[in-house]
């Protein structure tokens, strides 16, 4: 199925482009917009956006792959991002990550079969003071312990935890 930018998107895009002196400067905001709609940026979407912005495809792909926060495949409902940098590492992040892998039965970068969880590791989340930290979608869970982590997963499974997104 060929991917087409929706009229709604184009209207929004025109508005965003108008903010910048050059059309191609709107690349990142428009990618965010695409990701906001679909949850990820598909290969075909990059192609369509490149044509829309009159940029070479390779440029768009280069930008998408450079920024780790652009997803190139659909994610689970909850995106669990475990910090792997030094403060969290020393405060026990590797054990938490191992626990998550075991509990969910997936490796880093994978999504559970029920489509509920995607597990990734990320660089510093900027909360070293409350390490170890995990980011679920857009919420932070700090000073984690194995018990707290188990409780969080159970809550999320049962839809109990009200995440922002």
């Amino acid at each position: 199925m060929p991917f087409k930018l929706t009229e709604e998107f184009k209207a929004k895009a025109a508005h965003i482009c108008a903010r910048y002196p050059r059309k191609d400067a709107a690349l990142i905001p428009l990618l965010q917009e695409l990701q906001g709609q679909a949850g990820f940026v598909a290969e075909e979407a990059m192609d369509a956006l490149a044509q829309y912005l009159e940029l070479p495809y390779a440029r768009v792909k280069g930008v998408v792959t450079f920024y780790t926060m652009f997803n190139r495949a659909p994610l689970g409902k909850y995106h669990l991002q475990v910090c792997r940098n030094i403060s969290c590492h020393m405060a026990g992040a590797p054990a938490l990550l191992g626990r998550l892998k075991e509990k969910l039965g997936i490796a880093e970068g994978e999504t559970t079969k029920d489509g509920l969880f995607t597990l990734s590791t990320v660089e510093c989340l900027g909360a070293c003071g409350t390490a170890p930290v995990l980011q679920a979608n857009e919420d932070y869970f700090e000073n984690l312990t194995p018990e707290k982590l188990d409780a969080l997963i159970d809550d999320l499974k049962h839809g109990k935890h009200p995440l922002k997104r």
Binding site: P56, A58, R59, F66, Y67, T68
Partner: protein
């Protein structure tokens, strides 16, 4: 015009010149990977770090503009240490491929390591980040991402020179790599320049890979005869075989060389290379072929004709002019070729596919002759019954030949060039084997110099013409290409 000192030597740099360019003016070499004089400045490789007095950090010479009163050092301990460190960074994940890498011998990493580093690696081989190894990307290139130092010369070449923008750096940090759209091939007409541009063994030419180690190659400066642009090139050859053609950058004509131009050397070693004469379709030794051709010419003495060729050098065209004037004693000769001149694609490829239209024009100006139209008319009217010319030039009179059935005697290098109408074909040495002068579309005289020797028995065109004249009873006394020019008054 800022005045500054580099390593204690005073220099006056051009306005807007960078430190690297100013140093070059003094003959001070600053190592670089990402800098290229004909591409935009990127400043990413950090190899060109230099020390500027009263500046706290080292600066990149390629991107720092020379300013009045600057005192620059390229030989201080700090700079030397920086070069060692940058090389160590670049080599952290570089594979230990040198023995099997075709870039060895002309590799920026090898050269600079020997020159500026010689440091033992502090990183065990097992810790290296691996990336995708060789893969063919397009008809001419192979990409090995593991060897890449991400200087982005190739990326900038595709976006700034060919304006096709196929390439980009994907991903980030130590897992970043050069790539293009999935399923697409790197197929612009200038892709082989990327193999030259690449300072390391990441991009290599599919044609040249593993054919010869570069240190065995001898280099002959010559000119590309692929079209009227007449790019200056260098033929790299060894033991009588040409291996590749690379551009000789010059201000007048070319920095780059197109892919088609680079492949022109193939004809010299092609399987259909002529070493003997051809009568109709049968191969025959040169001497009997010459005798046969001469007999056919003598039969029609008054109705024999000579057509020059924009694919031949000035000397060989002159030899043909003298054949007409002194041996055949005919007025039926023509050096009148006109083709639209000019760059077709905005880069190098010329509208005129022949390399010497302007040079043939010089012969015409000196010797006169018929217009191409009149020449064709005389063939069609059967006033000309035998035509002697070069194989590709025969296309100019194709229709007239068809209409009249006049005999065609051609000179050819390869069998594929021979037109179907040809009655007899005489082989001659290509311009990789014999010298010649060509005039390009800008009116610049360019010399083709022999890189290899012709096969035994294959003679330059002027020598074949000389023999042909002898067979029909006249000696032109040609002993060299220059002899052909004697008695012709070039204006």
């Amino acid at each position: 015009m800022p005045k500054l000192t580099i390593d204690g030597k005073a220099v006056e740099a051009a306005k807007g010149a960078t430190l690297l360019e100013a140093a070059q003016q003094l003959g001070v070499y600053i190592p670089r990977y990402c800098y290229h004089p004909k591409l935009s400045v990127s400043g990413n490789c950090r190899m060109c770090l230099v020390e500027v007095e009263k500046t706290s950090k080292l600066v990149t010479a390629c991107s720092t503009e020379a300013a009045e009163g600057m005192s620059v050092r390229t030989d201080s301990e700090k700079v030397k240490a920086a070069r060692r460190d940058v090389l160590e960074f670049l080599l952290i994940n570089h594979p230990l491929d040198c023995p099997i890498c075709d870039q060895a011998g002309e590799c920026g990493l090898q050269d600079y390591y020997m020159e500026y580093s010689l440091k033992k690696s502090r990183f065990p081989q097992g810790d290296k980040v691996t990336r995708q190894k060789r893969r063919a990307l397009g008809p001419h290139l192979v990409l090995d991402n593991e060897r890449c130092v991400l200087c982005t010369r190739c990326v900038r070449f595709c976006s700034e020179v060919t304006k096709t923008s196929e390439l980009e750096v994907m991903e980030r940090a130590d897992h970043s790599f050069i790539d293009l759209k999935e399923g697409k091939s790197l197929d612009n007409d200038y892709s082989l320049n990327i193999a030259d541009l690449c300072p390391v063994g990441a991009w290599t030419s599919r044609d040249f890979r593993f054919k010869s180690r570069v240190w065995f190659l001898k280099k002959t400066p010559t000119v590309c005869l692929g079209c009227a642009t007449g790019c200056l090139i260098e033929a790299h050859h060894n033991e009588n075989t040409v291996y590749r053609l690379v551009p000789r950058p010059n201000a007048e004509t070319n920095t780059w060389l197109c892919d088609r131009g680079r492949m022109t050397y193939k004809a010299v070693q092609a399987g259909d290379r002529l070493a003997k004469g051809v009568i109709k379709n049968g191969l025959i030794d040169l001497e009997p072929a010459l005798r046969e051709a001469a007999t056919r010419i003598d039969e029609q003495h008054a109705a024999a004709a000579v057509l020059g060729s924009p694919w031949l050098s000035i000397e060989d065209n002159a030899a043909l002019a003298r054949l007409a004037a002194e041996a055949l004693k005919t007025e039926n000769f023509c050096f009148d070729f006109s083709a639209e001149q000019g760059i077709k694609d905005g880069i190098l490829v010329n509208k005129d596919p022949a390399p010497n239209t302007a040079g043939a024009g010089l012969v015409k100006a000196a010797c006169g002759g018929l217009s191409l139209e009149e020449f064709s008319r005389r063939i069609a009217d059967k006033r000309i019954k035998v035509v002697i010319t070069e194989a590709r030039a025969a296309a100019f009179i194709k229709d007239a030949l068809k209409a009249s059935g006049a005999r065609l005697i051609v000179f050819a290098v390869n069998r594929a060039e021979i037109p179907p109408e040809a009655y007899a074909t005489l082989p001659y040495a290509s311009y990789f084997e014999t010298p010649g002068t060509f005039v390009n579309y800008q009116g610049l005289k360019r010399r083709a110099e022999p890189a290899v020797e012709a096969k035994e028995g294959v003679k330059p065109l002027w020598a074949v013409v000389n023999k042909l004249a002898v067979y029909s009873g006249t000696s032109l006394r040609l002993d060299s290409a220059e002899d052909a020019l004697k008695g012709i008054n070039f204006r």
